[in-house]
Every structure is written in C-alpha cells, then in structure tokens.
C-alpha cells in the first residue's frame, strides 16, 4: 500500500499542454476519484500514473519513490480498463493469472492467488469459462480480479463502469466500494459520472482543461465549491445560476437583488467589492422551496414544465427576465402549467460567484 504524489505534472503533445501542472497528494489507502467533463485530461492523468503515457514535466512518486521513468510493471500498479481488456482466447483463470504466468510463478502459487481473488469477487464458479460466455459485469469482474492477483500498491480504474447498463453499474459500484474496504488499498478512479464520484470517493479531484479545479471530500465539494465550475459540475439537477446586482454591502453582509429576485441578505464574500457589481448567485434546485402567495426574499416566475418522478418533482420555472431555474421538491406535487410561482431559499445555502 502506498502514497501517490503528483507534483507539477505536465503532459504536452506537440506544443499543446493537455495537463497543465497538476499537484495532488493521495494518501495510503485513500479512494481518490478524478472527475470532469470529457476532454478534461482525467484519463490522460491516470495513464501517466500507470506509465502508459510519458510524463513531459513534473514528478510522480509512488510510495516515496520517483517513478517517472519506470515501466508500468515496475510501478506496483494494476489497471482496470473501460473496455475490460481481458484476453478473449484465455479462460477466466488464465486471464486472472496472466501477470503471474509471464513472470514464471509456480502453478501452485498461481492457483492459490487466483482462487483467493475469485473468492473475494465471488466468481469461483466462472473460473473455467471463456470471456465470450460472460456478461459485461462478469467481464469487468475478471479484469478487477486480474488486478487483485497482482497484489499492487495502487489500483487504477479508468471509467470501469461506463460500458455497463444502469442497474449493473449500481451493483458494481457497490462491489468496488466493498472491495476498497476489504483490501484497504490506494485506489485512483476516473469517471465522468458524478454519482460514482460522490458515492465512492474519499477524495474527489475535479479537473477541467488539464487543471485541478478543487480537491476535497465529496461533501466539501458539494457544500463549499471553490468556483462556479465545480458548483455546476457536481449535483443533479445542476445548480441554478442567477445574475444579480450587489445592492448594499457592510462589514459582514451584503444585499443582492435583481428584477426577478427580491432583495436578499447574505453573508459577505470576498469577491464582492462594491455596490452595483454584477455577480452570480448559485442555488441548488433542492434548496428552492415553492411558496404560495407573495413572499419576501423570493425568485418569481411561472411554471413552464414539471417532471414527476414519484419521490421527487422537478419543476422548470421561467423567470420574468426569460431565464430559467429548476427546483426539485422531495415529494410528489402537482404544479399547473403557467401558474405563477415564488421560490424561496435559505441564504446560508446560496453561493456567490464573481461574473466571468
């Protein structure tokens, strides 16, 4: 088991920087998730850790040792790919034992280690099958088994659940969480799915265009996003952003308002410097409460669409200035189309971002 440290890592193709100086500290046994939109460099970063991509600049150390120039096999890592990457002509047992076979380990030890891994993954009955006889979830399990058999210091997962259907994805997500508890190994997991990131991670790294946006626990990121990008990226449905004006400031608070928002008093944030400044107010859909009648401190608009999910109702509200906000109510409720609606919120739960 090992720490993984990335210091000022840079990846450059020709003259374009794909990874623009990334610093991350991953502690021993930590489950770290790299998350971000496609093209943000999260997979490239993982492949750099694996040794499948060269590191242009910076240092990467695993367990205190700089591994920049080591071959993948010498880095004590194992990797699970999105497309499983299991060898189609080998049985499950041969696939899982592949690393041991090529390093020439005795059959007895090979069998023992494969059987142990199969037991952990509850797939002992599949060992003699061929990949073509397995379902997607079982194939991914084989790939994970192959990683376990290597007994690595660090597990790397590259979007391992993206090829699975929704129900299976949830099962496998839980399996991976259990596996992490059982093995207590350092794991680095790349995904574009924020649910996977939120549920699995001890630590989330949000990436955008090759730069780290924020590193923290899922709840830190959810409740205290460092910037507008992180705020908008995590949470579903995603956060509402409303353009507002700064109406008044004093030492500890500020008053914000606009044509669609009644003046509301929030704790002062440092980005707000003068009256009349334009800022963005971010409110998660779950924190907007529909109100009947004219209530102070609210957003005002009309219902343009409702989606009833049974346990939740998502309403699309057109504000007076034509912008839209989404509110999610934790119960089944009917909102007639076109009805005037006021949405209130707890100012403590709103976020203020300087306009870009």
């Amino acid at each position: 088991m090992a720490d993984v440290t990335l210091q000022a890592l840079v990846k450059r193709y020709d003259k374009t920087d794909i990874i623009k100086g990334v610093d991350i500290d991953i502690k021993d046994g930590e489950f770290t998730v790299f998350v971000g939109p496609s093209g943000c460099g999260k997979s490239t970063l993982l492949r750099m850790i694996a040794g499948l991509e060269d590191i242009t600049d910076g240092t990467l150390s695993i367990d205190g040792k700089i591994v920049n120039h080591l071959q993948p096999k010498d880095r004590s890592i194992a990797m699970v790919f999105q497309s499983y990457a299991i060898f189609p002509h080998m049985t499950v047992r041969e696939n899982m034992a592949f690393g041991l076979t090529i390093s020439g380990i005795s059959k007895q030890e090979k069998d023992q280690r494969v059987n142990e891994a199969a037991k952990v993954l509850q797939m002992e009955h599949l060992l003699e099958r061929r990949p073509s006889q397995l379902s997607g979830g079982q194939r991914q399990r084989v790939a994970i088994g192959r990683a376990i058999v290597r007994n690595p210091k660090v597990f790397l997962f590259d979007e391992p659940l993206s090829n699975l259907d929704a129900a299976l994805r949830m099962d496998m997500r839980m399996e991976i969480a259990k596996l992490h508890k059982k093995l207590a190994a350092t794991m680095i997991y790349v995904t574009h799915d924020q649910v996977e990131a939120m549920t699995l991670a001890d630590k989330i790294v949000v990436l955008k265009e090759g730069q780290v946006q924020q590193i923290g626990t899922p709840m830190e990121l959810f409740h205290h996003p460092a910037n507008r990008f992180v705020a908008g990226f995590l949470g579903s449905p995603s956060m509402n952003f409303i353009d507002v004006d700064v109406l008044a400031i004093d030492d500890h608070s500020m008053t914000l308002g606009s044509t669609v928002l009644d003046p509301v008093v929030l704790p002062r944030v440092e980005q707000v410097v003068n009256v009349g400044q334009k800022v963005e107010l971010g409110i998660r859909p779950q924190y907007l409460q529909p109100q009947h009648g004219d209530v102070k401190g609210c957003l005002h608009g009309r219902v343009s669409l409702t989606e009833r999910l049974g346990t939740e109702t998502v309403i699309d509200v057109s504000l007076a200035d034509g912008k839209k906000v989404i509110a999610a109510i934790g119960q089944d409720q009917v909102f007639p189309l076109g009805e005037a609606i006021s949405l209130s919120f707890d100012p403590e739960r709103a976020h203020v971002f300087a306009t870009q």
Binding site: Q71, K73, F81, S83, A85, P88, M90, I102
Partner: protein, 360 residues
C-alpha cells in the same frame, strides 16, 4: 396481386435478367471449363486432330499416375560370383530390358525409371509411366512446403514492422507492396537478369561481399539451385500482398489489450505470444490457404525463367498441364493433370479447414 408494388419485384424474370450478365460469364468461364476438363480427361481429345474423339475412361489418369517397384539382382558371372566393374561397383541388367516388350513383365510395359537406390546388393528402382509428371508433383509440393511457411512468416514480420506509428511509415508500406503490383512476368524477366550466371546482379553482389571468393553460380541453369532461386523470387514477389492481409488482422486487435499486457509486465515476445498471435488466428488461416493455393498454381515464373528445366528440375503441375495441353496438343492429358491438381488442392484445403477449425 397488389397494384402499387413495382413489377420488378413481382416478376422473377426481371431478377434473372439482372443476374444474367454475371451469371452467364461465370458459367462460361468457370463452370463450363471445369466440366469440360473433367469430360476431356476421360477421352483422347487432341487440340487439332482429324480423328474422332474416343472415350477412354481412366486411361489418362493411369498413364499419369502409375508407379511400380522393380528390384534388380546384380548380374552374376557363370561361376556364380557377382560381376564387378573396374571401380568395384556391381552391374545390373538394364531397366529397358524389363519395360520394353518383356512378356514376363507386362505391367511394366512402357514405364521409365523415376529414381532408384542401392539396397544391400540389390538395386531398387521406382518406375513411373510419366516420370516428368512425377517430378512436377514433387517440385510443386516442395515449392508449397517451402514457400507457404516462409512467405507467411516474412509477411507477418513485415506487417509487425510497419504496424507502428512512425513518420513516413506509408513509404515503407508502399515499397513492400510494390512488387505485388508489378506483373509477375515482368518481375520474372527482371529476376532472370539478377540470377544471370555471368554478369547477374546476385553474382556480382556475392563476388564483391566475399572479396572474390565466391565463384559465380548459374542460378537458373543449375538443377541444384534453379528451384530454390525461383522459390526465393516468388516469396519476395508476393510477400507484400500477404503483409497487407496480416496488417488488417493486426489492426483488429484492440490497443487496450496491448496496454493491459504492458501493465502486467509482458515482454515483447510474450506480448506477441499471448496477445498478437491469438488475435491473428483467423487471419493466419486465410493467409495460409491463399498462399498454398497460389503456390500450387505456380506457372508464370517457370514459363518465363526456366521452361521447366534444367533436367526437369523446375517442372510443376500447372506448367506440365499447359505444356501437355498446348505444347503437345494433348488436351485430354492436360485436362487430366488439371483435375489431379484440383483434387490435391481441394483435399489440402479441406484438411487445413479441419485442423484450424474453431474448437468447441
């Protein structure tokens, strides 16, 4: 019948009309000659002859394929001692005395010596009614046995080399593929110059790299080197074609499999053994069958470079079929050879299919 559907889809006749050109050409140039070959091979048909054609059954095949064994005792003197030549070798009766009008050996009538060897003090001779054809069969099999594995292996090696992301890799691909595009006749003429016994490129090259120690060899004029020379040139000529087939097979293997192997620590050879080669199994079957069939059809190189010589050392089955059919105007004999070749190639293909089938 529905009014709105087009009459084209209603009438079978239109369908046949559309198929007719292709169907007709295939009938005319593939099916009809095939049937003709089988029919002619059972007659005494000649290319031009005033005599009517007669049905002869399997006589042509008997004439082609009969083989017999003759064991000769050494000639003894009247005293009962073995008669020896001046150099100590034994003398044997001439084989002609058994094969020419010898009433005791009617089954050897008209046969010729194919090859013979010494066995204790006896001479064992294998006789064939058509030793030239037998030589052609042996040469053809030799050609297939050498060319198929070597050409396949070289093509795979080239494919592995050019399956890399390097600058200008397409130039290499083009260079290796070029001989395939050039007509085999042109290539054969060029290689006749290369193999020339006096001033050929190969002899000059060997002469200079060996600092004059290697004497020039008449590559195509020497029975020991002629077939080997043609093999080498044939391998070179078509290797690019099979390289392209291997390349297409290589590119169907998922790059992630290579990455997985790399992470597991596989060496270059292990990656080939565990990832590349298993992924190429279907391609290998295809390449092997195609090369085998092409090798059995060896003709143009022989026709241009050696005409079957020297001393029948480069006779091949197809060359014999053409030589017999058009050179000697013996259409029935040529047809019989074609049918024999067909049976050989068919059986080999079936065997290859059997051995390379997907095991359940």
């Amino acid at each position: 019948m529905q009014k709105n559907s087009s009459s084209l889809t209603q009438h079978n006749r239109s369908g046949w009309l559309f198929a007719l050109p292709g169907f007709g050409l295939m009938m005319l140039f593939i099916v009809v000659p095939f049937v003709f070959a089988i029919v002619f091979s059972m007659t005494n048909q000649r290319l031009i002859s005033p005599n009517p054609t007669q049905f002869v059954g399997f006589e042509n095949y008997r004439q082609l394929l009969s083989v017999n064994l003759l064991v000769l005792d050494p000639v003894s003197t009247e005293a009962g001692e073995l008669k020896q030549n001046a150099d100590g070798t034994l003398t044997y009766p001439r084989i002609r005395t058994f094969t020419r009008n010898n009433p005791d050996y009617p089954h050897l009538q008209g046969m010729k010596e194919w090859f013979s060897w010494q066995w204790q003090d006896k001479q064992v001779a294998i006789l064939a009614s058509d030793p030239v054809f037998m030589k052609a069969v042996v040469n053809t099999f030799l050609f297939v046995l050498v060319v198929a594995p070597l050409q396949g292996a070289f093509a795979l090696a080239l494919a592995l080399l050019i399956n890399q992301r390097l600058k200008g890799i397409n130039v290499y691909r083009a260079i290796y593929f070029m001989p395939v595009v050039v007509s085999i006749v042109v290539v054969s003429i060029l290689w006749r110059f290369i193999y020339d016994g006096q001033n050929g490129l190969l002899n000059n090259l060997l002469h200079s790299v060996s600092f004059g120690h290697l004497a020039p060899v008449d590559w195509l004029g020497n029975p020991d080197t002629a077939l080997g020379s043609i093999m080498a040139m044939s391998i070179w000529q078509a290797v690019g074609f099979h390289m392209v087939i291997w390349l297409s097979g290589l590119q169907t293997i998922s790059p992630t499999l290579y990455e997985a192997a790399k992470i597991e620590g596989a060496s270059g050879w292990q990656t080939f053994r565990y990832v590349t080669w298993p992924g190429l199994k279907n391609t290998a079957v295809l390449v092997l069958i195609v090369i085998t069939m092409q090798a059995f059809a060896l003709f143009a190189q022989i026709d241009v470079m050696t005409n079957g010589g020297p001393l029948d050392s480069t006779q091949t089955i197809v060359f014999q079929a053409v030589e017999r059919g058009y050179g000697k105007q013996d259409i029935s004999g040529g047809s019989a050879i074609s049918v024999v070749l067909f049976v050989i190639v068919l059986s080999i293909s079936l065997l290859q299919r059997h051995f390379t089938r997907e095991k359940k």
